[in-house]
Symmetry: C2
Subunit: 259 residues, 2 copies
């Protein structure tokens, strides 16, 4: 564990791939706080959720990138990266796991689909402190520097005040200039979903194929929901747990099923 | 919706693939209750969690299998199957979505990794009634018939007593003879995790590669947890929600981050 004589060990991963600008910025920010080891996918893994690689094999290699950190590129999913880092690469259990900075939002229901957040959740399952960071800007040219101060603040606060067992953080950052950021708001996951459509096309061979598309539908106007915080210019922080039990319904359901 | 003059429309999917014995048995059981449409992956998708296909395309075909149901084989993940079925295949919103019967347990923490359960959760996100079924027997020769009565009972009870919004069911069935089954117990998700190891091998070309392996570690002795119910010979039913917010920690976290 972190002591006054030892810098915290920070594991960094993401789902956009190890060379994405978002993770390189997160590494830069974390290098100012601790000893950083990166274990991240060697290819884009957006939308992979909590997928793991069980029906095929994994390979990895150390790659040399700018900075004092060590970088390992893995052929798997974000959740694979956490498992592999802990088991095969890190010299000891890390003091913190950070995932991101994702190119695009992982607020509300996106926590289910997001490889970025699933990596953080997996770290939580392993009993580690973990935070996923996402910026509401899909582009490769996104400006991550505006969020540097806030990200470092959230990381330092978490190192100094550990999260309770079974909780990790989902941090989303609006696409705003630093001067426009209103602050940090701790929120609940908004009630929202994707309204899908499938774009049907014809292959050169005459066969139909489909692209998943759709639009995001926020059905939640609550001031305490992450979507509202982001719309109002706040960085949203949702404490996320992986006990999915609807505890409040156990008693009623037991009556229904055992009647 | 289901009326006295119309049979319920039941969508069936899984993660072991459309030809797996487990889904064929579930179709057989559901054909006795409603009008069944199957939209399931054309290949094994175990461990795919809540993954969706966004960086490549999907294809599907209708296939002809024994029984009155219609069967559609999709090139995607279990969650893709739900989205595609609702958007492209079903004539109306189904009255129920069932996923499985999975070959192997999806109790406790496995709910995160399981494609079977992620399909049920996705149906819940769409506002539908949904249940995932799993049998604690990995083999292709597993005996699913022992669970027929219990599965049909849970389905009929759910159709008659709809689950609250935002809740789906995770049903796990012990590998026992029907006469040994103790009944149904509604439970919480046990506190358990996988202890990973990676089996390192050398390819014919001299390169290292790894298989993810490990063993399951149940750290929960609670009588109200799903692992204990299964160990005692009960069918476990966990009401699962997809609002992952740790509501109980919002206030404390807000004080930490805004101090």
């Amino acid at each position: 564990m972190n002591t006054t004589t030892q810098k915290p060990l920070i594991l960094v991963t993401n789902d956009d791939g190890i060379t994405a600008p978002g993770i390189r910025k997160l590494v830069e920010f974390m290098n100012e706080i601790g000893d950083v080891v990166v274990v991240a996918p060697n290819s884009p893994q957006s939308g992979k959720g909590h997928a793991i690689t069980i029906n095929s094999t994994l390979t990895y290699e150390e790659i040399i990138l700018e900075g004092p950190q060590r970088d390992y590129s893995l052929s798997g999913t974000p959740v694979d990266c956490i498992k592999f880092a802990l088991n095969q690469i890190l010299p000891r259990r890390p003091d913190l796991v950070v995932s991101g900075i994702n190119h695009g939002a992982n607020s509300s229901i996106n926590v289910l689909y997001s490889g970025t957040m699933s990596a953080a959740v997996e770290a939580g399952v392993e009993g580690l402190q973990a935070i996923g960071f996402s910026l509401l800007d899909f582009t490769w040219e996104a400006d991550f520097d505006q969020a540097k101060e806030s990200i470092q603040k959230i990381v330092r606060k978490t190192l100094a005040n550990p999260l309770p067992k079974g909780v990790v953080l989902n941090v989303n950052i609006p696409k705003l200039d630093k001067s426009e950021l209103k602050g940090i708001r701790v929120c609940r996951q908004a009630n929202a979903k994707w309204e899908e459509s499938f774009d049907e096309r014809i292959s050169p061979h005459g066969n139909k194929y489909y692209w998943l598309t759709g639009y995001f539908n926020n059905m939640d106007e609550g001031n305490d929901a992450d979507e509202m915080a982001l719309a109002q210019g706040y960085i949203s922080v949702v404490p996320v747990k992986f006990d999915l039990t609807a505890h409040e319904y156990i008693k009623d359901l037991s009556q229904v099923l055992n009647s």
